[in-house]
Each structure stands twice: as structure tokens, then as C-alpha cells.
Amino acid sequence: MIELSGVHIVSGSFALTDVAFSVPRGAYAVLMGRTGSGKTTILEAICGLKRVVAGDIRFAGENVTQLKAAERGIGFVPQDGALFRSMTVREHLEFALEIRRWDKPRRHERVAELAAMVGVEHLLDRGVVGLSGGETQRVALGRALSFRPAILCLDEPLSALDDESRQEMIELLKRIQRDTGVTALHVTHNRSEAERLADVWLRLVDGKVVDVSSDAVSSDAR
């Protein structure tokens, strides 16, 4: 589903060369690596937020390397949620649908569905200032999934959460991925998160992405 080959990304003085890996359709891939190793940069390149100097990014065989972020159809959940302060929770869930000119009844139906899916029904008409960390990430997740993307990219979505919210979010992510069949790429440096979520386990070491899923049995290899 997601396929990178020979990808070269430059970000300021930092560069990743010849990044290659693939994530099969419907899999939950976790990309691990040290802080500053370039995990987020790879995610940004996949989302279309960072220009790729060379190489190809393919979704389901289609080359999307030159497509704009808006045209790639990826749900993106950034690290701190990056919610829009001027909007209510409902407006967040509706945003991408409004941009896509869905009609009102269809939008309302979808918002109700999403709110139930991520568990924010009781928050719909609230602003986002003052939401807890867990609530913030639920809204960000609902917003990312609103337009039914085939791919979900998550950038350390659980790093700012307390233990309890983290466990809840992990359960939620697993359930959502099972129910929607979305292909997920989740960046983290937290091993327990990866252990509980990953179907495909990737590691970024010295600028190269290595698939370590097959070594999964011996946890040392991770």
C-alpha cells in the first residue's frame, strides 16, 4: 500500500538518502528510531509536506511523489494534535468534508459516526481550548479519519499522554484500524506502544529503514 524506493529528503542541514520500505494494505506499521533520526521527516515526505529530492513514493502502485498534500488523501495526526483554536470539536470533524463540499445531511451523518468512533460525542459543541491530552488526540484522530483516507499517518500521537489515556488510545487505534481497514504508519520512540500495535515493525537506523518484523519473536532485535 505504501511503498518508498530510493527516497532522498533534505531538511535543512539534515538529509536522508535512499530510504526504502513498504507497508502492505491494511497493516499497522510502526516506525521507530531515536529522537532526531528523521522519523518525522519521512512521515512528512509521505504526507506531501516535505519535498522529495529523488526517489518514488507509491500508494497502491500509484506514484504520488509529485502530488500535493491535499491530493494524497492521507489522514495525518501530528504530535500535539495541532487542533484549530477557532473551531469547535464538531467543526474539526466536519472540516475536511466541508472542503470536499459534502452536503449537510451527509456531513452530519458522518460527524455522528466519527464522534461515536473516537468517543467525543459529549464534546461536539465545545471549543478545543481546555481539552485534555487524550481528548485532543481523539479529536485529531477523528479529524484525520473524517474523509475516509486509505492511509493514516501518526506522528508520536501518544507521547504527551498520561499512562491511562495512552492505554485507552492504543485500544482505540487498534479497534479503529481493525474496523476501517486503514493502512497505518505510526511513528514513535516508545517500545511498548510498538509492541502492542505493530503488524509491521520498522526501525530507522543511521538513515536507513529496516523491517525488523521477522525478528519480532526475539525482542532484543527490536
Binding site: K68, A70, F76, D80, F84, S86, F95, I99, R100
Partner: protein, 295 residues
């Protein structure tokens, strides 16, 4: 680590009173100075009225048709200037906040010119600009017969008042808006892009609504700055009563003919106008902002 060491003696610190005392004293002296100058204006006018029988001088100002005209022109021109300034300051502020491009430092420096240039020089420069423009267009008319004339008159006319205010105030608006945009993480725009927005949609639907507070602050600053603008207006637009006279000009004119009471009365009027407008903007602006954020 040696566990049998005796605990270190308690570290004693001095009182924090000195620190707080200095904060209050240094900051407070400035606040007191501001309030004293205003208070002095008020006390002076009251003393002149009640002790020196100067009520007629105050009354003259209050019933003067010229002063009322200047008041209206001041409020109107500042408002128009504010709207115009925001139109240019929003794109420039956003550009400076979000993009790195060659010549960015130069652009930044150019934007400082209206702020650091003496106000009188700005007025003179505007005048020369239009004079030179006139000379050039006359020359063109002589050679080619094509008449290039401005659709509106700027020097010594109301549009000149607005242009003079605009030139200075827009630079302040740019500074304020750039700070406002700096505070909005770029990540939010990127998320909007992944949700299907064009850059324009992301700006219009996400950035601008989030910058409401900054816009309001920039508008207030621009308006107040324009209301008090004097130097470039005097030089470029003149001080013709019932035409280009604004309130700061009125103060200057009263002062220059020795009518101190009149000058101070007008000054107090300006303080009143500014305070009313700022309070109204603040109350309504904040209620609106808080209402949206905490709804």
C-alpha cells in the same frame, strides 16, 4: 555515593523582598509618570476654569465648528487608514512569518524605515514624491500630449491625510501581525493541507481565524497611531481648517497662538476618544475571542 555523610547544612537564602521591591519601583515609576501627565492636563483645565475664569476659552473650543470638523476627520481618517493598513500588513506579516526567501532581511529593514524616519521627513518625502511625479507627468504631457493625472488629489487634501497616516501606521501593523502569525504553529496549516485545503484555504479558514486576537491588536495599534499622527500630515496635507485639520493639528495650532487652555482641552478630548475606542474594542474583542475559544 557515601551514604554516611552528614546532611549538608541548610542553604539559607536572603529575602525576595528586594527583588519584588525593584520590580514595583522601576515599573511603577513609569506608570506613575503616565498617569501624572494625564492628571496634570485635567487639573490644569479645571484650575483655569474655576480659579482663573477661563471657561470662555474652553467653551470656544467646545463649540468651535473647526474643532468638531477636525474631530470627525480624525476619527474617520484613522478608521480608513486602519482598514487600508490591515490589507497590506496581513500579507506582508504572513510572508515574513512563514517564508524564508532571498531579500527577506532587506524587506525587513525597508519596513523599519517608516518607523525610524523622523515624521517630518516622511511628510517632506511624500510631498517631493508627488511634486516629482507632477514634473514628470508634465514633461510627458509636453512631449507626447498624453495627460497623466492622478484621479484624486493627495497633497493638501483629505486623501493626503490618510496617505500620511497610512505610510507610518502600516509599518506598525506589519510588526504586530507578524508576531501574531509567528505564534500560530505552521503544523496547523500543514494539517489543513493534508485535509484537502489549498494554501489559500488553509490561510483563510485556519490561520486568519486563529489570528483574530492579533488582528484586533494590530488594528487597535494602527488606529491609535493614526489618531495621533501629526508631523507628516502637517507637511503633506497642511493644516487648513475645515479641510485637512485633524485633532493633533488643532492642538498645535491652539498652542502656537498661545491658547494653552484650548490646546489642553483638545488634548483631553483626544485622550477621551482614544480611551473610549480602546475600551470598546477590548471589551467586545475579548468577549468575542473568549466566547469562541471556550464555547
Amino acid at each position: 555515593m557515601a551514604s554516611n555523610d552528614s546532611p549538608a547544612p541548610r542553604h539559607r537564602v536572603g529575602s525576595d523582598r528586594w527583588f519584588y521591591g525593584c520590580l514595583i519601583l522601576l515599573g511603577g515609576s513609569y506608570i506613575v509618570l503616565i498617569l501624572l501627565t494625564l492628571l496634570a492636563d485635567g487639573v490644569y483645565v479645571l484650575m483655569e476654569i474655576f480659579l482663573h475664569g477661563q471657561w470662555p476659552a474652553v467653551r470656544n473650543v467646545l463649540v468651535s465648528e473647526e474643532i468638531w470638523y477636525a474631530t470627525k476627520l480624525s476619527i474617520l481618517s484613522s478608521t480608513i487608514t486602519t482598514v487600508l493598513a490591515l490589507w497590506v500588513a496581513v500579507p506582508i506579516g504572513y510572508l515574513l512569518s512563514r517564508f524564508k526567501f532571498p531579500g527577506r532581511a532587506l524587506l525587513d529593514a525597508i519596513l523599519d524605515i517608516p518607523i525610524v524616519l523622523p515624521p517630518l521627513v516622511i511628510g517632506v518625502s511624500l510631498l517631493i514624491l508627488f511634486k516629482t511625479g507632477g514634473v514628470i507627468s508634465n514633461a510627458i504631457a509636453e512631449k507626447t500630449g498624453i495627460e497623466l493625472s492622478m484621479p484624486i488629489d493627495f497633497p493638501y487634501a483629505i486623501p493626503g491625510v490618510i496617505l500620511a497616516q497610512f505610510l507610518v501606521a502600516a509599518a506598525f501593523a506589519v510588526r504586530a501581525l507578524r508576531l501574531a502569525f509567528d505564534e500560530i504553529p505552521f503544523r496547523k496549516e500543514e494539517v489543513a493541507l493534508t485535509l484537502g485545503c489549498t494554501r489559500g484555504q488553509a490561510f483563510w479558514r485556519v490561520v486568519l481565524p486563529e489570528a483574530r486576537g492579533g488582528l484586533l491588536a494590530a488594528a487597535t495599534l494602527t488606529w491609535a497611531r493614526s489618531l495621533g499622527e501629526f508631523g507628516p500630515i502637517l507637511v503633506f496635507a497642511g493644516a487648513t481648517p475645515m479641510r485637512t485639520e485633524v485633532l493633533p493639528t488643532s492642538v498645535f495650532l491652539q498652542f502656537s497662538v498661545g491658547d494653552l487652555v484650548g490646546a489642553v482641552t483638545i488634548s483631553l478630548g483626544m485622550v477621551l476618544i482614544a480611551v473610549v475606542v480602546l475600551v470598546v474594542v477590548r471589551v467586545f474583542g475579548h468577549r468575542d475571542l473568549a466566547g469562541r475559544a471556550l464555547r
